[in-house]
């Protein structure tokens, strides 16, 4: 063994070189502070190792970049770890660089004779940031795409060569395959080669000059690099890789956003955390000149001050200035980063966009996991995916008038009023209960959205249905004993000062009983109407309550039984035709929704509204008639998504506009609906309802 080592050393000198390195003398002994550079070197090695392995599985093309990263991340053994380590070590490199630079400045290690070492370090800093920028694009997700757009546009405003640099970097005018192949080449070959070159020079300088020993330690005992300093270095490296591994485990790997969609606005676009201060700075820089100042003059000035430090640091006061400048810069960066995070945390539109981006990414990821990516690409893969196409179509076609749970299908809310019903949970029991509740019917989620402009104000249309709810149905809830009022509306009182009632005790008791029956009937009718929609999440309870639903259907059809639905509506062959109210047969079912979307003007739906010449309302277009509108396939996707969407009872829109919280009868929450143990087929609806369903009204 020893002979072999000697033979090798004789021919190559490798062993001596390693020995020379390991037994470098450190005056004053080992210190933790000397480890930062080594740790940084280690982090670069981690990036090189993981990077090369990632290259074996990555494909730099618009059609396959996202798909191959998805494949690495979710299908390949260890892929989540490999990509995770690469992603979070990139962050660690930037953090370690900052620490390294700061401590070099504080300890004056940038001064003679180490000026060149310092300058080489500054070059390495720039290359590292360029590595990070180019790497961010490679997954070809929305975030990377937008960030690249920003960074290349900023490069483009550089006076003189800017536009040419931009065009060469992007590979033309539009971002696409050429951008990816160029950024890929930069990231895996060109920049690493430059980095290795400057790193080699930097390390040679360090070997030449050794560490900067504090003056008071110069007299104390020294030591060799091996093993004490090496142990410190390795320990710190272990801590860094440990932290990275912990983050990968905690976060479940690196994030993969929704694939890049050049024509879709992406408000959740943000750079990596270490560029947030620049991002924030650009917010304060206005106009062409401002942008130039923010993107070039300020960073350029800062870099110049750094580059001059070895010269200014010759004087004591210069050194103090340099330390002070670094500290101030650190505070400024921290403040700007904090501001950027704070502003985002308090910006609903950002949070909403982020929520949608996360949801969208999950759908893409899940579909790719389940079906693989077809040769036509990622977007073909989700062309028939209601969870993606539903929100897209709703936002583009419906959200001008409608909302869904208060938002536009992608969680984005606006202060502008809706002109039509909120469709979140449409035709579900909860939805219909609130819609027909006198307290909530006029809220902007329901009839309160039907407004027109009059004398510069928006006025809610007092339509027949709303009136019915606010008078007849409201009467079902009025259990207070009626009092006599005089011509002025004052409550009449007798000589003793007692209130004079308009109804006797018996009349009052009877009315209360009727009210109870009507409220129960109403709930039964609502449940029956909701069953028309055949909503998947109500299938179980509807199967259980078959008898009550049949009862509710009778109530809906036959106005002689108490409720007055059939006076205007048609339902399953009953009711009144031509009274101008929409057909309730199949209300909210996929077929009903598709047809109403295609042609709301039909006699089956809202024909009377379109025939009223003076209708003040903005009416819905017939999407089936109008060219370039929605295809049948698109309407089906929209309907599928609307019906799948779980109804969120805590929809913010209600709380924001409604004022008082809608109180939903307990029976409406699907779990507690009244159950008929033994349906009594012979009993009249009135009697059965009164006998079985006292709870819904009683809860009020």
């Amino acid at each position: 063994m020893k002979t072999l080592v000697n033979w090798l050393d004789d021919r190559t000198g490798v062993v001596s070189a390693i020995n020379a390195f390991l037994f470098t003398y450190i005056p004053g002994g080992p210190r933790w502070r000397y480890s930062w550079g080594t740790v940084l070197l280690f982090a670069f090695c981690v990036q090189a190792i993981t990077g090369v392995f990632l290259m074996t599985a990555y494909s730099p093309s618009v059609d396959s970049a996202w798909a191959s990263v998805h494949h690495i991340n979710f299908n390949m053994t260890g892929g989540q770890w490999l990509r995770g380590i690469h992603h979070y070590t990139a962050s660690a490199v930037v953090a370690l660089l900052a620490v390294h630079v700061v401590q070099v400045i504080i300890y004056g290690a940038y001064r003679a004779p180490r000026e060149v070492t310092f300058w080489l370090g500054l070059v390495l800093l720039q290359i590292t940031l360029a590595m990070s920028l180019t790497g961010y694009l490679l997954p070809w997700d929305q975030r990377g795409y937008r960030a690249t757009q920003v960074s290349t546009n900023l490069a483009g405003i550089t006076p003189g060569l800017g536009p040419y640099i931009k065009k060469v970097a992007v590979g033309g005018d539009a971002y696409g395959n050429a951008t990816l192949t160029r950024f890929y080449a930069l990231h895996v070959a060109i920049l690493p080669a430059i980095l290795v070159f400057f790193l080699a020079l930097h390390l040679t300088m360090i070997r030449r000059h050794g560490v900067t020993t504090p003056e008071k330690a110069r007299s104390s005992r020294g030591a060799y690099y091996w093993p004490h300093q090496f142990l410190r270095d390795a320990g710190l490296c272990g801590a860094v890789i440990g932290a990275v591994l912990l983050t990968v485990w905690w976060e479940g790997g690196a994030e993969l956003g929704p694939p890049a969609q050049p024509n879709v606005a992406f408000e959740a676009a943000r750079p990596e955390w270490y560029f947030l201060f620049l991002f924030q700075t650009l917010k304060y820089c206005h106009g062409e000149v401002g942008e130039l100042i923010g993107a070039h003059v300020i960073p350029g000035t800062i870099m110049t001050i750094f580059a001059l430090m070895p010269i200014t640091g010759r004087w004591k006061i210069g050194h103090y200035f340099n330390v002070g400048f670094t500290v101030c810069l650190g505070i400024a960066i921290a403040t700007l980063t904090g501001l950027a995070l704070y502003e985002d945390a308090n910006k609903p539109s950002y949070q909403q966009a982020l929520k949608w981006a996360e949801e969208e990414a999950h759908v893409y990821i899940d579909v790719a996991k389940k079906n693989g990516v077809p040769p036509e690409g990622i977007f073909a893969m989700v062309a028939k995916e209601a969870k993606i196409q539903g929100p897209n179509l709703f936002e583009a076609n419906c959200a001008t008038c409608h909302r869904i749970n208060g938002h536009n299908g992608k969680y984005s809310t606006t202060d502008e009023a809706a002109f039509a019903f909120d469709l979140g949970g449409f035709a579900s029991r909860e939805y219909l209960t609130e819609m027909l509740d006198p307290k909530t019917a006029a809220s902007p989620r329901f009839f309160g959205s039907w407004t027109y402009e009059e004398n510069g104000k928006r006025v809610v249309e007092q339509g027949a249905m709303l009136e019915h709810i606010q008078t007849t149905i409201a009467g079902y809830y009025d259990d207070a004993r009626k009092v006599k009022t005089d011509a002025n509306g004052q409550v009449e009182k007798n000589e003793k000062g007692e209130v004079v009632y308009a109804e006797t005790e018996e009349e009052w008791a009877k009315r209360k009983e009727t009210n109870l029956t009507r409220r129960t009937q109403l709930q039964l009718a609502i449940n029956a109407l909701s069953a028309e929609a055949r909503l998947p999440h109500q299938a179980a309870i509807e199967a259980k309550e078959k008898a009550q639903i049949e009862l509710g259907q009778q109530l809906l059809m036959d106005s002689s039984l108490g409720l007055e639905c059939g006076d205007c509506h048609t339902f399953r062959g009953g009711g009144t035709e031509g009274a101008g109210a929409p057909d309730l047969t199949g209300y909210g079912s996929p077929e009903w929704l598709r047809e109403v979307t295609k042609n709301p003007k039909s006699d089956r739906f809202y024909a009377h509204r379109y025939s009223e010449e003076d209708s003040k309302l903005t009416l819905m277009p017939a999407f089936g008639e109008w060219e370039e509108a929605l295809t049948d396939e698109q309407i089906d996707l929209l309907v599928e998504w609307m019906r799948k969407k779980p109804f969120d009872p805590a929809a913010p829109a209600v709380a924001a506009h409604g004022g008082d919280e809608p109180s939903v009868p307990e029976a409406a929450s699907t779990g507690d609906a009244p159950v008929v143990e033994e349906p009594a087929p012979a009993a009249t609806p009135d009697a059965t309802a009164a006998a079985t369903g006292a709870t819904p009204a009683g809860a009020r």
């Binding site: 191959s68 053994t77 260890g78 770890w81 142990l231 320990g235 079906n371």
Partner: protein, 194 residues
């Protein structure tokens, strides 16, 4: 630089230093392990993966053609085998490979031969009256047997595949020819599915 003549270094306790040295080496090794391990895991991912649906050990039954497309005079004809396949992240319907179908007369069930040469996998061509591999000149008879086994580059005869006929739902049409398609390891005398 390796001389220990620097002032201030005391004579090190050798045993302690050896122990520390071992610890240092261990720690140094451990810190580079995670990125390497993750990388090797990804690189060797194909080894940990079950064979893809196509061409695995069990083979996959693929409808290749109509029976009437196979000549009845014993002339072999090559057909592409098209089925769903997975190529890393991409799932598509594409060519898995190709086969020769041949039947001696109109009543016989066709016989299927893998078109890939058992030698190193080139596509064997039909040069009447034999099969010839254009790469290294292996020659096979029409039943797939090597013509001169002792001097053939191919270590075994051409690989035959199972064939079945399924009637078309429309009785007026000819039945479909189905083949249990699979790939075999090249360059070995024993026939073994990939």
């Amino acid at each position: 630089m390796a001389e220990s003549s620097h002032p201030g270094t005391d004579g090190p306790d050798l045993e302690r230093r050896n122990l520390l040295g071992c610890g240092a080496m261990l720690l140094g090794g451990v810190v580079v392990l995670p990125p390497l391990a993750a990388g090797v895991a990804v690189l060797t991912d194909p080894l940990t993966r079950n064979p893809a649906s196509a061409g695995d050990a069990k083979g996959v039954w693929v409808k290749v053609c109509k029976l009437t497309q196979v000549p009845t005079d014993g002339t072999p004809k090559r057909f592409k085998v098209v089925a769903e396949k997975v190529d890393a992240w991409q799932r598509s319907v594409g060519e898995l490979g190709s086969i020769y179908l041949r039947r001696a007369n109109a009543t016989a069930t066709p016989v299927a031969l893998q078109a890939a040469c058992p030698h190193v996998g080139c596509i064997v061509t039909y040069k009447s009256p034999v099969f010839n591999c254009p790469c290294h000149n292996s020659n096979f008879q029409l039943d797939g047997k090597r013509i001169d086994p002792d001097h053939s580059p191919s270590p075994r005869d051409m690989d035959s595949l199972q064939v079945k006929l399924e009637p078309d739902p429309d009785p007026k049409l000819a039945p479909d020819v189905w083949v249990n398609f699979m790939n075999f390891k090249a360059s070995q005398s024993a026939q073994e599915p990939v």
